[in-house]
C-alpha cells in the first residue's frame, strides 16, 4: 500500500544536497557556500536595511502592536504608504499618550470623514474612568508631538471615544 507523501517531503536533488551538508560538516567543501555559516549569513543580510517603505511600515506596526491595539491593519498600512512622513511621528505620539495616560488602553485606527474625502490616523485612549482631567491630559500629550506634524503630509489625532478599555461598551 502506498502512503501519500506531501509534496514538501519529496526529495529534490538540490535540497537533498543541502540536507547532507546540514548533517555532515566535514563534507562541506570550502569553495561551496558553507551551510554551517548560514545563520550568521542570514543575520548579516539583515544589516543595511531601511530602504523599503513597506518593511518600515511593518516594523513600525509590529512595534506598535506591543503597546496599541491596531484596528484595521490594512487601512493603516494604506494610509502610511500614502503618508510616509508619519512613520517618524507615530512612535512619539504613542509615547506621549502612554506617558500621560499610563493606565489607558490605546487603540489606533484610520478615521474616514463621512462628509468629505478626508481621512487621518486616530489614536484613541480608552479608560476605565473618565474624569475632568482627561481633556487637559490629552492636550498635554498632544503638545509633545504636534510640532512634529508641521509641514508634513498626513495627520495623527490623539483623542478619546469615551469607551471602556475593552472597546465594547460606550460609557
Amino acid at each position: 500500500m502506498l502512503t501519500p507523501v506531501p509534496y514538501l517531503h519529496r526529495p529534490h536533488s538540490k535540497t537533498s544536497v543541502t540536507g547532507l551538508q546540514w548533517t555532515k560538516a566535514e563534507d562541506v567543501k570550502p569553495e561551496s557556500p558553507n551551510i554551517l555559516t548560514l545563520p550568521r549569513d542570514l543575520l548579516q543580510s539583515f544589516q543595511k536595511r531601511g530602504s523599503s517603505v513597506v518593511i518600515d511600515i511593518e516594523e513600525l506596526m509590529e512595534r506598535l502592536a506591543r503597546k496599541v491595539r491596531i484596528e484595521n491593519p490594512n487601512s493603516i498600512r494604506e494610509y502610511l504608504l500614502q503618508f510616509t512622513e508619519l512613520l517618524d511621528v507615530i512612535p512619539k505620539a504613542v509615547d506621549a499618550a502612554k506617558k500621560h495616560f499610563p493606565e489607558a488602553k490605546l487603540v489606533m485606527d484610520v478615521y474616514q470623514d463621512p462628509e468629505i474625502a478626508d481621512c487621518y490616523l486616530v489614536l484613541y485612549i480608552r479608560l476605565k474612568y473618565y474624569d475632568d482631567s482627561v481633556i487637559e491630559r490629552l492636550e498635554k500629550a498632544e503638545a509633545e508631538f504636534l510640532n512634529q506634524l508641521v509641514n508634513k503630509r498626513g495627520w495623527i489625532q490623539l483623542t478619546t471615544d469615551f469607551r471602556e478599555p475593552e472597546g465594547e461598551g460606550a460609557l
Binding site: P6, L8, L38, L42, S45, Q47, S51, P73, L81, D88
Partner: protein, 245 residues
C-alpha cells in the same frame, strides 16, 4: 517565459545601489541629484533612518545602530520614489506595480543621474527586492495549497501554527549573488489571512560587479527574482493573481 498578472501581489519593489567607501560623497550630492531628477520626482521629503549593522567582533557578533538622514524624492502620484542617503541610492515602486517595463526606466534614470553626479569607485552592494502581500480567504490557511516555500512541520508536532518565519538564502553566480526569501504571516483585516513574501536578490560579494555593468546586473537580478517568485507559489495563487496571457 515571463508571467504577467492582472492582480500582482507586489506592494513594493526596491532597487538599491550602495557605492564603496572610496567614492567621494559629500553633502551636496542629494541636492545635485534632486536637480537632475526633479522632473520626474518633484516631491521632496526628509527622514531619519535607523540602520542596524552586524559585525563580527572579538566577542562574537556585535550590533551597531546608525542613524542617518535620507532624502526622498517622490513622483507626483507618490507611487515611485528615489531615496538618497550616504553612498546610497534606491528606487522604490509602490503598488500598483507598474511592471518591469515601467520600473526599469526609472531605475536607469536614477542610476545614470548618480553616475553623472558622482565619480563612482565601486559597488559595495546592489539589491533588487520585491515585497508581496498575499491575502487569502479565512483565518486558517493550508500553506501547501498556495505556497511551495514554507516551513516543514513534522507529523509529531502540532499542525496548527499560530505564527512562523520561514527564511532561506539561495546562492547564485558562484555565490557572487544571494537571494534571500522570507515568508511570514502578518496581521490582516476582515477575517482574511495575510502573508508577506519578501524576495531580496543582492550582490553578496562587494565590488564583484563593475560600475559599468550595474544595469546589466539589475536585469539579471530581475530574471532571478521572477524565477524565485514562481518557485514560491502554486497554481492556486497564479489563478488568484490572474495571469495575463
Amino acid at each position: 517565459m515571463v508571467k504577467k498578472y492582472a492582480k500582482p501581489p507586489i506592494v513594493e519593489a526596491v532597487c538599491e545601489f550602495r557605492v564603496t567607501p572610496e567614492t567621494q560623497w559629500d553633502l551636496t550630492v542629494p541636492g545635485l541629484l534632486y536637480e537632475r531628477l526633479k522632473g520626474s520626482f518633484p516631491q521632496k521629503e526628509q527622514r531619519m533612518i535607523q540602520e542596524v549593522e552586524l559585525m563580527q567582533g572579538p566577542e562574537g557578533l556585535q550590533q551597531q545602530i546608525r542613524t542617518s538622514e535620507r532624502l526622498l524624492f517622490f513622483t507626483e502620484d507618490r507611487k515611485m520614489l528615489v531615496q538618497v542617503g550616504p553612498r546610497l541610492l534606491t528606487v522604490n515602486a509602490l503598488k500598483p506595480y507598474p511592471h518591469w517595463e515601467g520600473f526599469k526606466p526609472r531605475i536607469e534614470m536614477a542610476w545614470k543621474s548618480l553616475q553623472a553626479t558622482v565619480e563612482m569607485q565601486g559597488l559595495e552592494r546592489m539589491g533588487l527586492r520585491y515585497i508581496n502581500h498575499i491575502e487569502l480567504p479565512g483565518q486558517s490557511v493550508e500553506l501547501a495549497k498556495y505556497f511551495e516555500f514554507y516551513p516543514f512541520v513534522g507529523q509529531r508536532l502540532p499542525q496548527q501554527m499560530v505564527s512562523f518565519l520561514a527564511v532561506a538564502e539561495f546562492s547564485y553566480a558562484d555565490d557572487r549573488d544571494r537571494c534571500r526569501v522570507q515568508l511570514t504571516p502578518i496581521p490582516g483585516s476582515g477575517g482574511k489571512s495575510l502573508f508577506m513574501l519578501d524576495i531580496d536578490y543582492f550582490l553578496a560579494r562587494p565590488r564583484a560587479v563593475e560600475v559599468v555593468d550595474a544595469l546589466a546586473w539589475v536585469e539579471e537580478a530581475h530574471n532571478r527574482v521572477e524565477e524565485v517568485f514562481e518557485g514560491c507559489i502554486t497554481d492556486k495563487l497564479r489563478e488568484m493573481f490572474e495571469e495575463v496571457l
